[in-house]
């Protein structure tokens, strides 16, 4: 509390109350993200047997945290001030503060309901719907930065498509060069180190390129490229040694390929968790950071850094959500999706993580779950889709159409409630 008073520069009990509420709501939102979203990202690895669910939890925890802290601030900025015209609130920062609190709680409650009923609701869509709903309620459509919102909605359509496309070609490539190769072990030795190296390169690049400023460490582009390339090559070398030394003679050819991809899938599972942390932590801490920025500055500042401890708190919230609730989802999903073998899981996860990471670097909050679904469909298309049950597609579209108005409407109700409490 002493720290909070010093940091916020005020001891007004109402303001401190708002700050504490922001922390509680932000944490609740992060918990929900961990409880619901992360499971989908990790389940493919558990399903294919690459990871036990306990291992999956540990990897997810470490990588979510790393992604949130090291690469998480771009999207936070978009959520905080990209979608509504914060200048409109210049004379009335308290309204914006309450609005952000309401948006957080509304999105978190909606997510919690969705998790209970197993609805495929995107955390990103919830928070975007909540903030836009609030802006519309207060100032009408002029408050909304429609261009930015349009970009975000466009990215929701593009990200599953991009996920599908990359996953499709990646699986076709693996099939052509490895699965149908005359000598699969030679093909494995030649190609899998490249996949391993590429995964590591992308994680490191996302971390060091414009990422380390959270640690007060800025690398210029060429240094960032060089260091990630070096890490990738080292990773590829280690993987080469691993593949060349392992004895695959116990397994039949295709089983052997899948075994090697199980190991690769551990890397991509980490990659997905990292990308998810980078993208989705913002959904919890973006509005929270906005509240703090207003309290600190008294006015709406355009550029305030997101403090490290807020990113960390978001990450910890996700991890706790994962540990207390998400593991159950991982367990059930993992058991049911055995059709996704390691080569397929690798293709889908690699594609999903890359798309999500690129989008979050561009400041576009996308849905990790929907991108992963796109990627899984992409792998399916590569094998030839004989049958498509439209029920799932329907539920995705319904969740799109439902989430925005529900989260927005809920935000307005909670906002009115908060306002009444403050005025007491």
């Amino acid at each position: 509390m002493e720290y909070l008073i010093g940091w916020l520069g005020t001891s007004d009990p109402v303001v401190l109350g708002i700050a504490a509420t922001a922390i509680v709501f932000g944490f609740y939102m992060a918990w929900n993200i961990g409880a619901n979203d992360v499971a989908n990202a990790m389940a493919t690895s558990v399903g294919s047997g690459s990871l036990t669910y306990r291992q999956a939890i540990w990897i997810a925890a470490a990588m979510e945290l790393a992604g949130a802290v090291l690469a998480g601030s771009h999207v936070t900025n978009t959520i905080r001030k990209g979608m509504i015209d914060v200048q409109l609130f210049a004379h009335d920062p308290q309204t914006l503060m309450l609005g952000m609190l309401a948006a957080l709680l509304a999105a978190a409650v909606w997510l919690n309901i969705a998790t209970l009923f197993g609805l495929p609701v995107s955390t990103t869509h919830s928070i975007v719907g909540a903030i836009v709903g609030f802006g519309l309620f207060i100032y009408g459509s002029t408050a909304i930065q429609w261009i930015k919102v349009f970009q975000i909605v466009l990215s929701w359509i593009i990200s599953p498509l991009a996920g599908a496309l990359i996953a499709y070609f990646l699986f076709v490539l693996i099939r052509k060069t490895i699965l149908t190769a005359r000598n699969t072990s030679r093909a494995l030795l030649r190609l899998t180190p490249i996949f391993a190296g590429l995964t590591i390169l992308l994680i490191v690049l996302a971390t060091v390129y414009k990422g380390l400023k959270n640690l007060n460490l800025q690398l210029d582009t060429s240094t960032a490229l060089f260091s990630s390339l070096t890490a990738g090559i080292i990773g590829a070398g280690i993987f080469y040694l691993y593949v060349s030394r392992r004895d695959g003679s116990r397994y039949d050819e295709i089983q052997n390929v899948e075994r090697v991809f199980m190991v690769l899938q551990v890397a991509t599972a980490a990659y997905v968790a990292f990308a998810h942390g980078a993208n989705d932590v913002a959904n919890a801490i973006g509005p929270m950071a906005a509240v703090f920025a207003i309290i600190q500055n008294g006015v709406i500042a355009l550029k305030v850094p997101v403090p490290m401890w807020i990113l960390l708190m978001g990450g910890v919230g996700i991890v706790i959500g994962l540990a207390t609730w998400g593991y159950r989802v991982i367990k059930t999903v993992g058991k049911s999706i055995t059709e996704l073998t390691p080569t397929r899981g690798f293709s889908a996860e690699f594609s999903c993580a890359t798309v999500v990471l690129v989008c979050s670097k561009l400041g576009l909050p996308v849905s990790t779950t929907h991108t992963l679904v796109g990627a899984v469909v992409g792998v399916g298309l590569a094998q030839g889709l004989g049958s498509v049950n439209l029920g799932v597609m329907r539920s995705i579209i319904a969740s799109w159409l439902l989430t925005l108005p529900v989260a927005g409407g809920l935000t307005i109700l909670i906002y009115l409630g908060l306002e009444a409490v403050i005025q007491l």
Partner: protein
């Protein structure tokens, strides 16, 4: 349930398809022992085999229903749902054919020309064709599983088409054998021979012929499942 589970289906139809085939082939394996037992007038043995067939056929049916009940949930199916269900049906029919065979064989009487006239040998030859057609058909599913693992590309597609062709050739031989046997039945001269016995004998011949037909259909539906 998570969206991924919904998307991929909570249940793998292909594993069950193999389990179903295992039961069906256990029935098929009993065809020749059954005919031998009947031919040796060993009614106890016929009864024992019949019990086994009824049990296996029932078990196969249960797996079949499981596949059918859960198939709508599988969304991303690499093959068409209709083709898969048709294939399942023909695979299941194979067990039904053996069951029909059991019902007729247990009523079988043997004309004087059974051993002397070579009818026994001809019937066993037909059974050979039918069983080997069914065995070729059963081999397809293993190759299909491998094709599925690889992701529906490569030489296995051609390999499967060749197996389907081979089944077609065996079925043609079975057809000719069936024709010959029907003629033999119609030419039975035994004075004690009753028309009803002919009827049962024709049923046996027909069931064996149907087995080869169904094996051929399995090949046809397999072709559809792997078609580009």
């Amino acid at each position: 349930m998570s969206i991924l589970a919904k998307l991929l289906g909570s249940h793998a139809p292909f594993e069950l398809l193999s389990k179903h085939l295992d039961k069906v082939m256990l029935c098929v394996d009993l065809v020749k022992p059954l005919l031998d037992a009947a031919s040796n007038q060993n009614q106890d043995e016929v009864k024992r085999i019949a019990e086994d067939v009824f049990r296996l056929e029932h078990e196969a049916d249960e797996i079949k229903l499981k596949i059918r009940d859960h198939l709508p949930k599988a969304t991303l199916l690499p093959v068409s749902r209709g083709d898969l269900l048709n294939y399942l049906k023909t695979q299941d029919n194979l067990a039904d054919n053996v069951e029909d065979l059991v019902l007729s064989v247990s009523q079988l009487r043997f004309p004087s020309c059974w051993t002397d006239g070579g009818m026994h040998d001809e019937l066993m030859a037909l059974a050979d064709y039918s069983v080997s057609a069914a065995k070729e058909a059963a081999n397809m599913l293993g190759r299909f599983e491998r094709l599925r693992m690889i992701g529906f590309a490569g030489d296995i597609i051609e390999e499967l088409r060749e197996i389907a062709n081979r089944i077609g050739q065996i079925e043609a031989k079975a057809d000719r054998k069936q024709f010959k046997l029907v003629q033999m039945v119609l030419e039975i001269q035994d004075p004690d021979w009753h028309f009803a016995y002919s009827y049962v004998l024709l049923q046996v011949i027909r069931s064996l012929g149907k087995m080869a037909d169904n094996a051929e259909s399995m090949g046809d539906y397999m072709r559809l499942m792997i078609a580009d």
